[in-house]
């Protein structure tokens, strides 16, 4: 299937990536090239095959649900572009 410009813009909104007008058309072509090439997976018979989610050949370990680390607000906020007190600051969200 081939993506149109409206779909490319919708994906960009979902991905939260701002798009310039000329960029949308170039992305549309690139994405269609990649998706067209990926279509070859439709040749594979996957009937009855269980999906593989990861490469770890083992069961994930369980651990106690307890706090093991933390309590460093200064370290956590050290890279914040903007902070107010011990909070990350963002543009006003609610009027």
């Amino acid at each position: 299937m081939s993506l149109d410009l409206a779909t490319v813009r919708r994906i960009a909104v979902l991905a939260r990536i701002g798009l310039e007008e000329d960029e949308a058309e170039r992305l549309r072509q690139d994405l269609n090239t990649i998706l067209g090439w990926i279509e070859q997976l439709n040749e594979v018979d996957v009937e009855g095959v269980a999906p593989l989610t990861g490469a770890a050949q083992m069961a994930l370990k369980m651990r106690e649900d307890v706090v093991a680390d933390g309590g460093y607000p200064e370290l956590v906020l050290a890279n914040a572009p903007e902070r107010i007190g011990d909070y990350f600051a963002v543009p006003k969200v609610v009027e």
């Binding site: 994906i11 798009l19 996957v46 990861g54 963002v90």
Partner: protein, 493 residues
């Protein structure tokens, strides 16, 4: 012999014998970086003061008769590993202001063993690329030159291009890398050095900037198989902070390099004989078969029937995981924030448009699309099922053989700007490396010969899960038989 020409094994023996100092060894490498990095652009950040302080601490420990596996050995760290107090960019503008307040488990393990860190190496942005051309900090120059045309600037491969170039040019004795679809093995092949991608779970991913979590494998670069084994031994080990870290013992990888390959069964996957593969790569592969036969291994043909579907599967799974992992870069908690976002959504969109380069935007878009409502089953779920078939291919092959032998990459290093017109053309570089990431099995690239232009070519050994020892043994046998002595044109002297 110059200090920068020593192997890690040689240097650590001399350090322990008191014949050289860590200070002198580190200064020699810092001088090499000073002389060549402006041209190669292998390092984004050089941590000279820290390196000298670590070297002095190593000398003090050695003077007390104490040492770890790597005491005093100068290494380069891919700028994807978080390092306390040292900027970590992932090759992206979006992380340009990021200074981690914590240390990745792999680099913490190396420091525990006494290593000296020279700095942080260049890479494709978020490790997405096969040429190091997508870095926001500029491309890396491969230290090798074509014999007939030394004006062409070649790529070092990617994504760990800076690490590979630094080790090849003798700016570092070894380096860390990460391999999500070939990002250690392909640049190792392009730069004429050894690159090892261990089993998934062998090295902790904690503190490594995430690209595709089910495919990301930290691993080492070095100039010999034994050195790569020494580095992996120090990097590996169980880490409770990574839920996929394997709680299995770390064997003596370096000892495995001396094992005989006599009686081992080596599989030649017939589907790796790709159309259009250059004749000299096919010939080198046949030469590798002959070397292993001469060393007493039994070589048999095997089939991995889903090989050709590895790349398209990867280009669904990896972007899907990337679109999820990269959602954290929103300009709020760390990293770059765009100016003038009038509301939160505009802040996100502008920050990510400014902060991500073209290849990263492309992959985040693909990933978002294949995970979106209505397309999830057709793309993502189908890819996960094909991934299961690819793993099954390996499992069935490893019921018959101990390891597989294949080329690492379908070409030698190409020039900057080549393969850039079509994203799929660039992706094809990883055709022989991606299947091992999808299956999580270990693989090593060993320099095995030169092409007609005098550029290095690697052969790849792929092994069973958690059997890196056999991979190292076979890799070391190839290294001994190949006896490659050529050196890159640009190197420390």
């Amino acid at each position: 012999m110059s200090l920068t020409d020593l192997t890690i094994a040689e240097a650590r023996a001399r350090l322990r014998a008191g014949e050289i100092t860590a200070r002198a060894l580190t200064e020699a490498h810092l001088a090499a970086i000073g002389a060549l990095n402006a041209r190669l652009n292998a390092f984004i950040t050089v941590t000279e003061e820290q390196a000298l302080a670590q070297a002095d601490a190593a000398d003090a420990a050695l003077a007390r008769g104490e040492h770890g596996a790597l005491t005093g050995i100068p290494l380069a760290i891919k700028d994807l590993f978080c390092t306390t107090g040292v900027r970590t960019t992932a090759g992206s503008a979006i992380l340009s202001p990021f200074v981690p307040p914590y240390e990745s488990t792999v680099t913490a393990n190396l420091l525990r063993e006494g290593a000296v860190f020279l700095g942080k190496t260049n890479l494709d942005e978020f490790a997405m690329g096969s040429s190091n051309m997508t870095s926001a900090y500029g491309p890396v120059e491969n230290p090798w030159k074509r014999r007939q045309d030394d004006s062409a600037v070649l790529v070092p491969g990617g994504s760990s291009g800076g690490s590979a170039a630094a080790v090849a040019a003798r700016l570092a004795m070894g380096a860390t890398g990460t391999d999500t679809g070939g990002s250690i093995r392909q640049p190792a092949s392009f730069c004429g050095i050894v690159g090892m991608k261990p089993t998934y779970g062998r090295c902790s991913r904690w503190g490594v900037v995430a690209f595709a979590s089910s495919l990301d494998h930290p691993g080492p670069f070095a100039r010999t198989v034994e050195d790569a084994a020494i580095l992996l031994g120090a990097m590996a080990g169980h880490d409770p902070k990574d839920s996929t870290s394997a709680d299995v013992p770390v064997p003596d990888f370096a000892a495995a390099c001396g094992r005989s390959v006599k009686g081992l069964r080596i599989g030649i996957p017939r589907e790796y004989r790709a159309d259009g593969m250059p004749g000299e790569i096919e010939a080198l592969w046949q030469q590798g078969v002959a070397w292993l036969r001469d060393a007493g291994a039994e070589v048999v043909e095997v089939s991995l029937p889903h090989t050709k579907y590895g790349l398209p599967t990867y280009y669904i799974v990896a972007p899907a995981e990337a679109s999820s992992n990269l959602a954290r870069y929103d300009g709020v908690r760390f990293g770059h924030r765009a100016e003038g976002g009038e509301d939160l959504r505009a802040l996100y969109q502008r920050t990510r448009a400014e902060g991500f380069g073209a290849e990263v935007r492309r992959r985040v878009m693909i990933g978002t699309y294949v995970l979106s409502a209505g397309y999830y089953d057709a793309y993502y779920l189908r890819a996960q099922k094909v991934r299961a078939l690819i793993l099954r291919d390996f499992t069935e092959a490893f019921a018959k053989v101990d390891a597989l032998l294949a080329p690492t990459a379908p070409s030698a290093a190409f020039a900057q700007g080549e393969n850039a017109d079509d994203p799929v053309k660039m992706y094809l570089n990883d055709v022989f490396t991606v299947p091992a990431n999808l299956a999580g099995v270990p693989g090593i690239s060993v320099p095995a010969g030169l092409d007609a232009n005098g550029l290095p070519l690697g052969l790849q050994v792929i092994g069973k899960p958690f059997d890196e020892e056999t991979v190292f043994a076979v890799g070391a046998a190839l290294e001994r038989a190949a006896g490659v002595e050529a050196l890159p044109a640009l190197r420390a002297t």
